[in-house]
Assembly symmetry: D2
Homo-oligomer: 365 residues x 4
């Protein structure tokens, strides 16, 4: 119940199903005075949208957002911004197999266990299409962060299958490098091989997992809360709220298990009158609070569960059967996952940019 | 601000610093009628407490909790339960070095960046000692889950440095196996080597990281919310809210990057009239909702940042210097991390056990 | 910031301005399985809508809601229900006077003080038109409460100016009695005089205040939380969140100031095996928790601030001036206030019907 | 469940029962750097404490608070402040009558209806003694508001029974005037008669209701949120969360029912370069947002339900009986209600002082 809202001060609520009339996000808490228009939402939506390249799903959704409120004469008014994106490419088809059989790897069975009843058309509420309006909301957060703090958030595909990109300095990767190939991997050699692998996997009627990396550069030191609402905890929740994410790490991540304290601790030093810690194995957060260094996160993303081949499963009635999911699916979720992850990081940072402002009495008044 | 509360319906709020008078947790939302006494809190507190073995810190804290409210005649009343644990082993010492120098790997600098002012005695609010009252609160959650649903939550050390335990069936590990050695690793051979490694690392005035694994068995299918409050997202936030956690994964975790969909998808089948999926690469959650299979999580925990050797750092005044943290510290956090992680998992599950109850109209009334 | 969401488990978020494209409500937490369609929203919307009679504003809004999500095959799915109502009757006019002058009694000045910038067209976010989607959301809450618990919520106009209706048994008033006259007063004699008074006031280019009464019959004993989230406190917040409300009372209300304890205490007795307290000066709530008796609330509603006569005020630039608000306004808000108040009561009760379910361990599992 | 927390950014959580070990409040979100010590809590606690005069209850509680966290070297650290107040005057007595019979006007029956079980000693969780820690928390809020904004919050008794005080200029009443008599009424003539009336009522083994008034002077224009979290709505919830409150109004209040718009609208004009509206029938809030004028609220408080005379009631077992509540009780709650009401107003304003800070982009950064 009531799990469709995210954030404390910069707060997003979404609604919608993949094959219903459309999706809505209400973004509450955007400060008044930010220049904003539909055109600010389009670039990220275009990067998330299906049908953008040969290695993504061919479902074709224009994803044209309409801003219904909260913007007046080109600026935000401080009141909630409602964004509507109607579904368009709902090809008429027979959903009766999805109604009666549970797809392996999907939420079909668990939704029925929870609600006793579900919109079974193409995933319903559990569809990754729900992230469309999150990406639109994230674009507002991104603009706020860029405008006020000069923060830059960028993600890319770090790994597909066994193929790992070489990204020496995460904070120096550019949007142009990422967008140079449809796989959104800034290492051109790795990108080429990833594309080949994804095409191969598709031809084998299979799918493949991977790892995405997201970096936020320019976050001031001091954001995040000391205990439960640590910045790392809020970011992890945000990223794990995306479909298909099985793991999140930052800084040294799981590799830290093999490290000694003397290897992992980042020395602090001064640069331009500021405390810095450039080795940044701490991934930009210490004690759950931003350190001023780049925030570096990675997400493990599973291979698409929908496969055009027979897989063993059961029916709602409890009989064993098989199912081959038809329709259009991404053989690898990673390229389109990148803007979703960026959006979630932006939403968390925008929220904490506002929450942070009440930390000290000397800044009040 | 206001980041010291966790949970929606089963809700914990904590306060306290490592060298102040003590810690308080208020646990609100515990249903009325649960048998509860101080004795229910002691076992987990004993497992978390410092000084319990040669491989943990020698700070000696009895951690005797007092229940101040919410329990009457041996049963919960439905009103908030306040737990007080006073600090005892506060050896008088000179904290002036901690006041003026930032310890690498600690939250000293980031707290100052946030608040402009901090209780610098031994970590203050950022000390892992804050988890004492979380563990006490978690013990209540654990009892509620065990009493109502028969849920069993157990964690252990899976890896220390390069040493990885062999744990074939996570759901079959027993508390006795875990508690058989001070390192809390249920694989006896690995445990012996881990203890050796930790002793070695300590003798080298260093520390070492590792991985903990936590399993929840008996969680019914259907818990968790579809979008932002996915069970995996809430569990990840809970675990990332613990100090020193750099990564969280469940099911296939980061290994999924290398898998194909046909390898990773778990087939569904029937057993005893119930939908099951025993290969459980999905780690007990699909679409963010529990599947009825064991929930299997892993956390990457960094090596203790406090090292009894000189490390380069800076002063509050911006001068470069070195600091060797004195005092008593765990050379490896993992053994005492286990009950903390169990507590956080218990808190999330208790919250969702209550939240879940409003999912269907036919269960109301 | 972020003040556009109401409720914990049954949760409503609204967006929209009076002269923008339209309004959206997202209703999250509606349990799965409730039969629901657009037709369930229409009756309350019709009662709230402008232009319904000669004594209300003549702005003509069809208020046709579209359900965008959360309902499948005529039943709720447990996922959020988004409702869209587009604005239609936006007569082109010159808003420059509203942009530059603050209307007395309105939020024009305070919005500018808060946000520094506002949508000045007809009240923008502060317009009572925002309650349109609250009424739609309330209709869902009302249906849930009626279906599961047989709860009936009804309001009426108790007073206009000096005219006070005679309502002997609030729990016996019927919808037919209320809707028998456009003023929504179930005492026919008082209703006739109220209508005359309202017509007179309008002819004098003035407006008039009043008191509405709302009753909820059938609420089981035991709803509400003991301390901050007392049922009376949540209901008061809900009603005070409506425009123009200057006072809320329940049971004896402000009259209690003159009573002695021996006069005000309601004796408890048994009836049909149930504890009852029919004198009900406690208005159905004791200690903030429902007693099983009818919940009886009253709201003081101020006269419409918009008056078609010159009133002294100031400009944004700080010059003293006058303003006569043009356009269509209710000479008395009360008749259209009734469905708004009912909706807010329904939202609170639906939320507490769900929150209540986790009170006792013996009801879990 | 989980209804023991109040506020979004400045957030109070309380626990405790009247006859248990004591009460705890955790105040989270207090900005770092505020000078604070136990001595700041004592004046308001002394005003709330029982046994302070002949017209209040004779239960004797020293109410000595201990600050357990969040304050270091005399200043707040930005981390949660835990306050412990142990119960002391718990005279041993026989509670079996309270266990088996429901007191009229109290929450005994409704708690049992909710939880099926309660701490029946002297009200348990529903006792007004819970407000002790709210008053302590409110003292912190009050100090923050005074320090940062120069805000002054003061309440008094406006009416007892038929006796109404003459308070011409609420914003000019002083603490000295209020504290001049034990009845906390700043009109000396009325105060004398109120004291006589209360003594009379006590001698008749009865109790009497009244009205308290609270004023906040110095609140800047612009605090509060436009829709659900209107400042008036949050203040009303806060005041209704206090025991015995049956009504809340502000500005014209219920009297507005008799007014015309032309009488009730406050003209705006300029004074010292600021927009003002001195007639202040709007009670300092327009559209739910503060206007800069004094905020003026009134609460209707019922007569003490505990009466030392036989009253008809029922037993838990459902038998009709009578009960005469023994023990020490206030014949009139109003004098001790005043600091409770002030505390709740302070908590709401402190919360909104922090929430307000994210309203405009030009104030960020």
């Amino acid at each position: 119940m009531a799990g469709s809202t995210f954030g404390q001060l910069f707060r997003v609520t979404t609604a919608g199903e993949s094959h219903g009339p459309g999706y809505v996000a209400i973004v509450d808490g955007v400060p008044a005075g930010l220049e904003l228009g539909v055109e600010d939402l389009l670039p990220d939506l275009a990067r998330r949208r299906p049908g953008q390249s040969s290695i993504t799903t061919q479902r074709d959704e224009a994803d044209r957002p309409e801003i219904l409120s909260g913007v007046f004469e080109g600026r935000t008014t401080g009141t909630p911004i409602a964004i509507l994106i109607r579904n368009q490419d709902q090809r008429p088809r027979d959903y009766s197999e999805l109604a009666s059989k549970y797809r392996p790897g999907h939420a079909d069975y668990t939704f029925d266990a929870k609600f006793g009843f579900r919109d079974h058309r193409g995933g319903g509420r559990s569809s990754a299409r729900e992230t469309t309006v999150r990406v639109a909301a994230g674009a507002i957060a991104r603009k706020l962060l860029a405008t006020v703090h000069g923060i830059r958030i960028l993600g890319w595909v770090r790994q597909v299958g066994e193929l790992v990109a070489d990204v020496a300095s995460p904070e120096e990767v550019t949007l142009e490098q990422v967008e140079a190939t449809p796989v959104r991997c800034p290492d051109p050699a790795a990108a080429a091989r990833m594309i080949e692998l994804i095409e191969l996997v598709r031809s084998e009627r299979d799918s493949i997992g991977g790892i995405a990396e997201v970096v936020a550069v320019g976050v001031p030191a001091g954001w995040g809360e000391p205990v439960f609402d640590k910045l790392k905890a809020e970011l992890a929740k945000a990223l794990f709220s995306l479909p298909a994410v099985l793991g999140v790490e930052y800084g040294s991540g799981f590799g830290v298990a093999r490290l000694r304290g003397s290897e992992n601790n980042d020395p602090l030093r001064m640069a331009d009158g500021r405390v810095v810690s450039p080795s940044n194995r701490h991934g930009g957060m210490l004690g759950g609070i931003s350190s001023g260094m780049p925030i570096v996160l990675r997400c493990a993303v599973k291979p698409t569960s929908s496969l055009p081949r027979e897989q063993p499963t059961v029916t709602r009635a409890g009989e064993e059967t098989t199912i081959a999911t038809r329709g259009r699916h991404d053989p690898c979720l990673l390229p389109r996952f990148v803007p979703m992850a960026e959006a979630m990081v932006a939403l968390v940072l925008a929220d904490h940019s506002l929450r942070h402002r009440a930390s000290r009495i000397r800044d009040l008044g």
